[in-house]
Amino acid sequence: MVIPNFARYVKSRSDRQLLHGLKYNKTSTCKPEESNNGLPIVPCGLIAWSLFNDTYTFARGMVELKVSRKNIAWKSDRNHKFGKHVYPFNFQNGTLIGGGKLDPSLSLSDQEDLIVWMRTAALPSFRKLYGRIEEDLEAEEVILVNLTNNYNTYSFGGKKTLVLSTSSWLGGKNDFLGIAYIAVGSSCIFISFVFMLLHVKNPR
C-alpha cells in the first residue's frame, strides 16, 4: 500500500464509536465514510473501510500448517479500545465497497484483523502481523501458500509481500540495528583513540 499515513486517512476514524458503537453517533471525524442510510456505519471511517482482506492458508506438504490468528492485536486494544458489545451490523453495505467485510455476529473486540489494521503504520511500506506459526519449521522445507487475492493494489501499483520470519527477543530480523551499533561504537572507539594519542603526544 502506498500511503497509510496520509493525514486524511489517519484521521478518518472514531475511537469513541469503536468503543461505544451506536451509543456514540457523532461520526463527523469519519468523513467521507461516516453513515449509510442515516445510520452511522460501524466501524466508520476510511481505515476500517479499506480493511485488508487477502487470506492465506499454509500447508506443509499435504498437512495444513496451523496459523494462530489469535492474540495478534494488543491486549489493551481488545479489552479497552474496541467495544465488546459493538457489532459491525452495517459494515460495507454502502454503494462503494472498499476492502474486507466483517462478520456482523462478532463484536469488534474479537475482530483482531480489524484491530491490527486500525493501527496505521508509520511508513508507506509496512508489515502487519497476520498470524503466528507456532510449529517449528525445518530448513529447506517447502510450504504451500494458498492465497486469495482480494485486496486491490493494482490501481496504485502497490506490492504485496508475504513474509515468514522468526522473531527473537529483539523482534524480527534487524540487521540495521546491529550495523548502526557497530558504526557508532567504532566511531566512539576511534575518536577516543585519536584523543588518547594526541594527549600522549603533547600532554598538558
Binding site: 476510511l46 508507506p124 486491490n152 529483539l170 524480527g172 540495528l177
Partner: protein, 1241 residues
C-alpha cells in the same frame, strides 16, 4: 505645629554679595506682558479650592511612572506581547487551528500560547507594580501645607494642589514647582541645591520678590491672596515668565523666584512658597522622557535568527505544499482507499493548486516547531531569576545606606556582559561630593602627610611588584649581586615615594582608630595643636589660616553634640576650609551683617582670643572669575584683601614682591594635582585706608548703576582691586572618591572596558578626578580641546551677525584642526606604551558634536585611552552617549546619580543609577541601580559575564532543540505524501516545548557559571568574551543549528530504518505510527537533555533534578497518558506498558540514538579543550585539578596574564612607573657594565 523660632542672625546677603544677588530691576522691566498662547496659566495663591473646578483644574501633584493602569493593562500588555513577531505567528497559528486546515487539535496550539503570553504579561504586571510602589513612596512623602486660618499641617505630596501655600524645611525636597514667597532670611534669600536637576554641586541662590517679604510666619498666610499669571508647563529649566498680582499691583516673576521640584532647600531653615506647577506639569517631570524600551544586542540578533528560521519554515512549507499538490494531482486519483472522488477542497485531485495553497497553511503550522514558542517566555523567566540573583547579591549590598543592587528591568541582563564603553558621571558617582582638607603649601613648604586612597593602593601594588621584580632579577645568577645592588640603588632612587608609601600605610592604620572629622583628613604635627607658631614662617601660616577662616560666605551653626560648629557653605570646598581652620585653631563662630568673628585658640598669650573682622566688601565667586575675595578690616584697623582662587588666575595677579614662593608653590600644586587633589591658591594684599576708600567709592558707583552695564562695571572695579597680590600658599582638597572607585576602575580597565567621564563640573576638577581615578597619569599625553582662544572673538562677534557667522566657522575650523592634530599625534606615536587622554569642554563639545565634526571627534576619542568631557549639559551627555553608541556600534553603559544624567542613562544601551544618594530621578530612569560605583565591577564582571553566557548558550540551545525536533516532522512528511500528518501525538508536541525541555534550559540560563565569581574577579580578561561576542557569533549559532540538523537526521533515520518493516517484539507485532512516534520522541528527549548536560559546566542538584527529571517526566507522562481512557489517548493507549517498555529494541534504540546525536559535539568539545582552549576552559581545568592551591606561583602568573592591555587604571599607572624605573635601571646597568669591562688597571 508652631514653627521653631529663628536660630540665626538676621542676615541680608544681598548687601554682601557683589555678583550673584543682583536684585532684578522690577521697575525697569515692569510686569511681563503675558498674552497669546502659552501663557494661559492662572494660579490663585492660597485658594487651592478654586483649582478643583474647571477650567482651572490642573493635575494633582500625583506622579506616575507606570506603563499601565488597571484598565489599560490588558489591551496594552496584549498588544505589547503580539508585537513580537514569533508571538504573532503563533497567534495566527492558534486561530487557524480552529479551522480544518490545522494539522493539530486547537488546544495544542492555544494552550502553549496562552501559557507563554500569560506568563510574560504576569511579569510585566509585576514590574509595573514595583514601579507603582516606588511612585507611591514619592507621592506619600509629607510636606507642611497651609490648611487655612494660618494653621499649617502635614499632607502627603500627592494631595498638594496648585495654589497651596507650603512650608519647606531645610534639606527637604521641593514638593512641586513653587514661587518663593519668603524665607527664614530677612531678605527672602534661600539656597537651593539643584544637583538632581543639572548635576551642579554648588548651591544656587534664589530670592523672593520684595512684596512678599512680610509673609514671614504661619499666621501671615491667614488672609493672603494673590494671583499669578504665567507660562504654561514647559520643560525649560532655566526660564520662567510670569506675573504676580498682589495688592492690586503687578510684579514680574523670573526664574530666580522659582523653586523647582526635586531640588533641595539648603542652608536655609525654611521657606514659604506657593505651588505653581504640580506633578506632571512640573518642570522636572516635563523634562523626563518616557524611558525607551531597550533591547539587548543578543535579543536583537535573536530576531534575525527567528527571521532566518521563518525563512526556513516557509521554504520547507513550500516544498511540502508543492509536493502535496503534485501528489494530489497525479497520484491521489489512484488511491481508492482515500475515496478521492468524494472529497473537499483540501484534498481535491481536480484542483491541486487550491489544495496546495491550503496545504501551505497547514504546513506552516505543522513546522511551527522550528520556532521555539517558549523561547521568549523562557528567556523572560530566566532573566527575572537572574535579576533576583543580582538583587540578592550580598556583595552588592551597601550596608551604610541599606541599598541593594537592583535590576529594574530584567531584559538587559546579558547586555551587562557585553559593555565596551562606560560613560560615567563624576559627582555622586565617582566622588561622594565631600571635600577633605588634605594638604597645603604655606610659604613654599608643603604640609600634610596623608595619602589619598589611590596612593595607598598604588603603593601596595608597587611594593608587591618591586619585590616580584627583585626575585626575577635575582634569578639571573650572573648578575645576582649586581642586580641586587642596583635594586638597592633604584630603591633609593624613588626612595622618597617609598618612604611616603610606608608612612601612608601606617598612617592609614592610625586613622582608622581616630575618629574621623568630616572634611578634614590632614595630618601633620607641624601645624596641628598650635605647633605652627614654632615654624619658621609663622607669620605666613597665621595669614594662611586667617584667609581660610575669613574668605568665604558660610554660616556657622552650633553643633550641640560636639560643642563646636558646623558650617553651611556654598560649596563643599569652602566647608572643608572652615573645618580645617577650626582644627588649626581658628574657629569661625559667628557672622553678622558686617563682621566675621573668629576664635583663635593658640595665640601668643596662650588663651583663646575672640577677634572680630569687619567685612567691608565681598567679591564672591563665579565660575567666570574663578576667584573670590573679601576685604576685611581687623581690630587694629588694618585693611586686608584676602583672595583665594584658581592658581593660574592668582599667579597672574601677583605683585612683583609677592612672588617669593611662586616657584615652590607651583611645584607643590603640580604634585597635588597629580594625585588628584583640588587646589586653590591663597593670596592677600594690604590696603591703605586711602587706597581703599578711593576704590570703594568707585565700587559703590558701579554697584548702584542701573542698566546692563552694571555687571561689566562691577567686574572691572573688582579687577582693579584684585591685583598686586602676595602669594601665601595653596590648599589641596581631596574630592573624596567613593569607596573603592580607583580599584574598581582599575579592574574594569583590565577587563578591557573604556571609561569616559562626562561631568558638568569644571575642567580642573574633572582633570583632578581623572588623576585620582588613574584615568590620567603624569606621562600621559593630554590632548585638550578647547575654544578658549576663540572665546573673545566670539564675544566681539555678537555685535555683528556676519562676523559672528565667520567666527563661528573659524571656531569650528580651529576645533577641526585641533582634532586632526590630535589624531596625527596619535598616529605618529611610536612608543607602544604611550597613552593619550582627551579632555574636552562643553562648549567645544557643542561644536564637536555637530554633524560634520563628530566623526573626527569620535575617531580621536576612540584612540585615546581615556576621555574626559567637562562642563557638559545633560543634553550633551546624552548626545555623546548616542555618538559613542551609534558611531562605534558597541555597547555603551552610562552610570550616574542625578537628574542631569537621566538623558544619558536613557540613551545608553544600559543605564545605571546610583541609589546611594537622595534623589531618585537617575534611579527611576535606569535599568539597574547600584548603591556605589564600586559595585559596578561585580555587576559587570561577574553578573554581566554570567548572564551573557547563560543567555547566549540558552538561545543557541533553544534553536538547536527546536531544529532537532521540528525537522523530524518535515522528514516524516516526505513519507506521508506531504499530507500534513505528524508522527507524534499532539500531546507530545504540546509538552515538548512547554514542559519536557524547558526546565533544563531554564536552569542553564539561571545557574550556569563557567567559573566562580571569585575567579571572574581575579581574571577580568574573561569579560572580553562578552564584548567580543564569542558565544553568540554567527559561527556559533550556525554551529548549533548544524548540530540540530544532524541530530534530527540521526533521530529520524535511525528510528525509521530500525522500525520500518521488522517486528519489534518477540510476539511478532510490528510498530505502528504511535509506537514509532513515541520511540522517536523518547530518542529526542534523551538526545536534547544529554546535550544540555554536556553544555553545562556547573552542576548543582537543581540542574541534575531538571535534566534527569525531564527525562523521567517524559516516561511518567507516557505512562499516565497510556493509562488514561483510550478516547483521550487514542493509539497511545497503554503504549509504554504494553508495547514499548517490554521491547528491548525500544531501549537499545534510545541508547544508540542518544549517543550518536551527542558524539560530534563531544568530539568538538574535547578537541577544543585540548588544542584550542578558551580562557575559561584553562581556568576550569586549573580549578578542577586544584592547581591553584598547589601551585600558587602559576596561579598568580596566570592571573597577571589575564588582563586586557589597558592604559588606564592604577595598575597601568604602576606599570608605567616600573617601566620608567626599568629604563633608568637599564641605563645605569649599561653604564655599570661598561665600567666593569674596562680593566681596573
Amino acid at each position: 505645629m508652631p514653627r521653631a523660632g529663628r536660630i540665626r542672625e538676621k542676615l541680608r546677603w544681598s548687601n554682601l554679595y557683589t555678583f550673584s544677588c543682583l536684585r532684578p530691576n522690577v521697575l525697569e522691566d515692569g510686569p511681563h506682558s503675558l498674552q497669546g498662547p502659552g501663557f494661559s496659566r492662572i494660579v490663585y495663591c492660597n485658594q487651592p479650592r478654586v483649582h478643583q473646578k474647571k477650567p482651572l483644574n490642573y493635575p494633582s501633584n500625583y506622579i506616575s511612572t507606570t506603563k499601565y493602569n488597571i484598565i489599560t493593562f490588558l489591551p496594552k500588555a496584549i498588544f505589547e506581547q503580539f508585537r513580537r513577531v514569533a508571538n504573532m505567528y503563533f497567534l495566527m497559528a492558534a486561530i487557524l487551528s480552529l479551522t480544518p486546515v490545522a494539522p493539530f487539535s486547537a488546544v495544542s496550539m492555544i494552550a502553549p500560547l496562552a501559557f507563554v503570553v500569560g506568563l510574560s504579561m504576569a511579569k510585566e504586571a509585576l514590574e509595573d507594580w514595583r514601579r507603582f510602589m516606588q511612585d507611591m513612596k514619592v507621592n506619600s512623602r509629607k510636606v507642611s501645607i497651609h490648611k487655612g486660618d494660618g494653621i499649617f499641617g502635614y499632607k502627603p505630596w500627592q494631595k498638594i494642589r496648585v495654589g497651596d501655600v507650603v512650608r519647606v524645611e531645610k534639606d527637604q525636597f521641593f514638593t512641586a514647582d513653587l514661587l518663593l514667597l519668603s524665607s527664614s532670611y530677612d531678605d527672602g534669600i534661600c539656597y537651593v541645591e539643584t544637583m538632581n536637576l543639572d548635576g551642579e554641586t554648588n548651591l544656587k541662590i534664589k530670592r523672593s520678590l520684595e512684596v512678599t517679604l512680610p509673609l514671614v510666619d504661619d499666621l501671615a498666610f491667614k488672609n493672603f491672596t494673590a494671583k499669578i499669571r504665567c507660562e504654561d508647563p514647559n520643560p525649560n529649566l532655566y526660564t520662567f515668565v510670569g506675573n504676580l498680582e498682589y495688592d492690586h499691583q503687578v510684579y514680574a516673576i523670573d526664574p530666580s523666584q522659582i523653586l523647582l521640584r526635586d531640588s533641595k532647600l539648603r542652608n536655609t531653615s525654611y521657606v514659604y512658597g506657593v505651588v505653581i506647577f504640580t506633578g506632571p506639569d512640573s518642570k522636572v517631570m516635563q523634562n523626563s522622557t518616557k524611558s525607551p524600551s531597550k533591547r539587548s544586542t543578543i535579543e536583537r540578533k535573536m530576531d534575525y535568527i527567528i527571521y532566518f528560521l521563518f525563512t526556513l519554515l516557509v521554504l520547507i512549507s513550500l516544498i511540502s505544499s508543492i509536493g502535496f499538490a503534485v501528489k494530489t494531482k497525479f497520484e491521489m486519483p489512484d488511491w481508492w482507499y482515500l475515496q478521492p472522488q468524494n472529497t473537499t477542497n483540501l484534498y481535491d485531485p481536480t484542483k491541486p493548486a487550491l489544495s496546495g495553497i491550503f496545504h501551505l497553511v497547514t504546513a506552516l503550522i505543522l513546522y511551527g516547531y522550528l520556532i521555539p514558542i517558549s523561547l521568549y517566555v523562557s528567556i523572560e523567566v530566566v532573566k527575572v531569576l537572574q535579576a533576583t540573583f543580582i538583587n540578592q547579591d550580598l556583595h552588592m549590598y551597601d550596608e551604610e545606606t541599606g541599598n541593594p543592587a537592583q535590576a529594574r528591568t530584567s531584559n538587559l541582563n546579558e547586555e551587562l556582559g557585553q559593555v565596551d564603553t562606560i560613560l560615567s558621571d563624576k559627582t555622586g558617582t565617582l566622588t561622594c561630593n565631600q571635600m577633605d582638607f588634605f594638604k597645603c603649601s604655606i610659604a613654599g613648604v608643603s604640609y600634610g602627610m596623608g595619602s589619598s586612597e589611590v596612593e595607598i593602593a598604588a603603593a601596595k601594588k608597587m611594593a608587591f611588584d618591586i619585590s616580584e621584580h627583585n626575585s626575577e632579577m635575582s634569578s639571573v645568577p650572573m648578575h645576582n649581586i649586581k642586580a641586587r645592588g642596583l635594586m638597592e640603588n633604584s630603591r633609593s632612587n624613588f626612595g622618597v615615594s617609598e618612604i611616603e608609601l610606608e608612612t601612608v600605610i601606617t598612617s592609614k592604620d592610625e586613622k582608622d582608630q581616630k575618629p574621623m572629622i568630616k572634611g578634614f583628613s590632614f595630618e601633620d604635627s607641624r601645624l596641628m595643636g598650635g605647633n605652627w607658631s614654632k615654624e619658621p614662617n609663622a607669620d605666613a601660616i597665621l595669614l594662611f589660616f586667617r584667609i581660610l577662616a575669613l574668605c568665604h560666605t558660610a554660616i556657622p551653626e552650633p553643633n550641640e553634640e560636639t560643642g563646636s560648629f558646623n558650617y553651611e557653605a556654598e560649596s563643599p570646598d569652602e566647608g572643608a576650609f572652615l573645618v580645617a581652620a577650626r582644627e588649626f585653631g581658628f574657629e569661625f563662630y559667628r557672622r553678622t551683617q558686617t563682621s566675621v568673628f573668629i576664635r583663635e585658640r593658640y595665640s601668643s598669650s596662650g588663651h583663646p582670643i575672640e577677634r572680630e573682622f569687619k567685612v567691608l566688601n565681598l567679591l564672591d565667586f563665579s565660575s567666570k572669575r574663578k576667584r573670590m575675595s573679601v576685604i576685611v578690616q581687623d581690630e587694629d584697623g588694618q585693611i586686608l584683601l584676602l583672595c583665594k582662587g584658581a592658581d593660574s588666575i592668582i599667579f597672574d595677579r601677583l605683585s612683583k614682591d609677592g612672588r617669593i614662593y611662586e616657584e615652590s608653590t607651583s611645584r607643590h600644586l603640580n604634585e597635588y594635582g597629580e594625585t588628584g587633589l583640588r587646589t586653590l591658591a591663597l593670596a592677600y594684599r594690604k590696603l591703605k585706608e586711602s587706597e581703599y576708600s578711593v576704590w570703594n567709592s568707585e565700587f559703590i558707583k558701579a554697584k548702584t548703576t542701573i542698566g546692563a552695564d552694571r555687571d561689566a562695571m562691577l567686574e572691572q572695579v573688582s579687577d582693579m582691586m584684585e591685583k598686586d597680590l602676595i602669594l601665601v600658599g595653596a590648599t589641596a582638597v581631596e574630592d573624596k572618591l567613593q569607596k573603592g572607585v580607583p580599584q574598581c576602575i582599575d579592574k574594569l580597565a583590565q577587563a578591557g572596558l573604556k571609561i569616559w567621564v562626562l561631568t558638568g563640573d569644571k575642567m580642573e576638577t574633572a582633570i583632578n578626578i581623572g588623576f585620582a581615578c588613574s584615568l590620567l597619569r603624569q606621562c600621559m599625553k593630554q590632548i585638550c580641546i578647547t575654544t578658549m582662544n576663540t572665546d573673545l572673538l566670539a564675544q566681539d562677534a555678537k555685535k555683528a551677525l556676519l562676523v559672528f557667522l565667520i567666527t563661528d566657522q573659524a571656531v569650528k575650523e580651529n576645533i577641526l584642526m585641533q582634532l586632526i592634530n590630535g589624531l596625527q599625534m596619535i598616529k605618529l606615536e611610536k612608543d607602544p606604551h604611550a597613552a593619550f587622554a582627551l579632555v574636552i569642554d562643553g562648549k567645544t563639545l557643542s561644536y564637536a558634536l555637530e554633524e560634520d565634526l563628530k566623526h573626527q571627534f569620535l575617531s580621536l576619542a576612540v584612540n585615546c585611552a581615556s576621555v574626559i568631557c567637562c562642563r557638559v549639559s545633560p543634553k550633551q551627555k546624552a548626545l555623546v552617549t548616542r555618538l559613542v553608541k551609534e558611531g562605534t556600534g558597541k555597547t555603551t553603559l552610562a552610570i550616574g546619580d542625578g537628574a542631569n544624567d537621566v538623558g544619558m542613562i536613557q540613551e545608553a544601551d544600559i543605564g545605571i543609577g546610583i541609589s546611594g544618594v537622595e534623589g531618585m530621578q537617575a534611579v527611576m530612569a535606569s535599568d539597574f541601580s547600584i548603591a556605589q560605583f564600586r559595585f559596578l565591577e561585580r555587576l559587570l564582571v561577574v553578573h554581566g559575564h554570567w548572564c551573557y553566557k547563560r543567555i547566549a548558550q540558552m538561545i543557541c540551545y533553544f534553536f538547536y532543540k527546536n531544529i532537532a525536533f521540528g525537522l523530524t516532522l518535515f522528514y516524516f512528511e516526505a513519507y506521508t505524501g506531504f499530507s500534513g500528518q505528524s508522527v507524534y501525538d499532539d500531546w507530545y508536541m504540546l509538552l515538548f516545548n512547554v514542559i519536557l525541555t524547558s526546565l533544563p534550559v531554564i536552569s542553564l540560563g539561571v545557574f550556569e557559571q563557567d567559573v566562580s565569581s571569585e575567579v571572574c574577579l581575579q581574571f577580568p580578561a574573561l569579560y572580553q568574551q562578552g564584548p567580543r561576542n564569542v558565544f553568540f557569533d554567527w559561527y556559533r549559532i550556525f554551529g548549533w543549528m548544524a548540530n540540530g540538523l544532524y541530530s534530527s537526521l540521526i533521530v529520524f533515520f535511525l528510528n525509521l530504518n530500525i522500525f520500518y518493516d521488522q517486528a519489534f517484539r518477540a510476539g511478532g507485532q510490528t510498530a505502528d505510527m504511535a509506537a514509532v512516534g513515541a520511540t522517536m520522541f523518547t530518542c529526542i528527549i534523551w538526545a536534547v537533555n544529554c546535550q544540555i548536560a554536556l553544555t553545562m559546566s556547573h552542576f548543582t542538584w537543581i540542574q541534575h533534578l531538571f535534566v534527569w527529571g525531564s527525562i523521567c517526566t517524559w516516561y511518567l507522562f507516557l505512562l499516565l497518558y497510556g493509562l488514561s481512557s483510550p478516547i483521550i489517548s487514542g493509539n497511545s493507549f497503554q503504549i509504554l506498558v504494553e508495547a514499548l517498555a517490554p521491547a528491548p529494541i525500544y531501549w537499545s534504540v534510545t541508547l544508540l540514538v542518544a549517543v550518536a546525536c551527542n558524539l560530534p559535539y563531544l568530539a568538538h568539545l574535547s578537541f577544543q579543550r585540548s588544542f584550542n582552549p578558551m580562557d575559561h576552559h584553562v581556568i576550569q581545568e586549573i580549578k578542577y585539578y586544584k592547581k591553584d592551591t598547589e601551585d600558587q606561583h602559576m596561579w598568580t602568573r596566570e592571573r597577571s596574564k589575564a588582563r586586557q592591555k589597558t592604559k588606564i587604571g592604577f595598575t597601568a599607572r604602576v606599570d608605567a612607573k616600573i617601566r620608567q624605573l626599568k629604563g633608568k635601571l637599564q641605563k645605569k646597568y649599561s653604564s655599570l657594565s661598561v665600567q666593569t669591562i674596562i680593566p681596573p688597571s
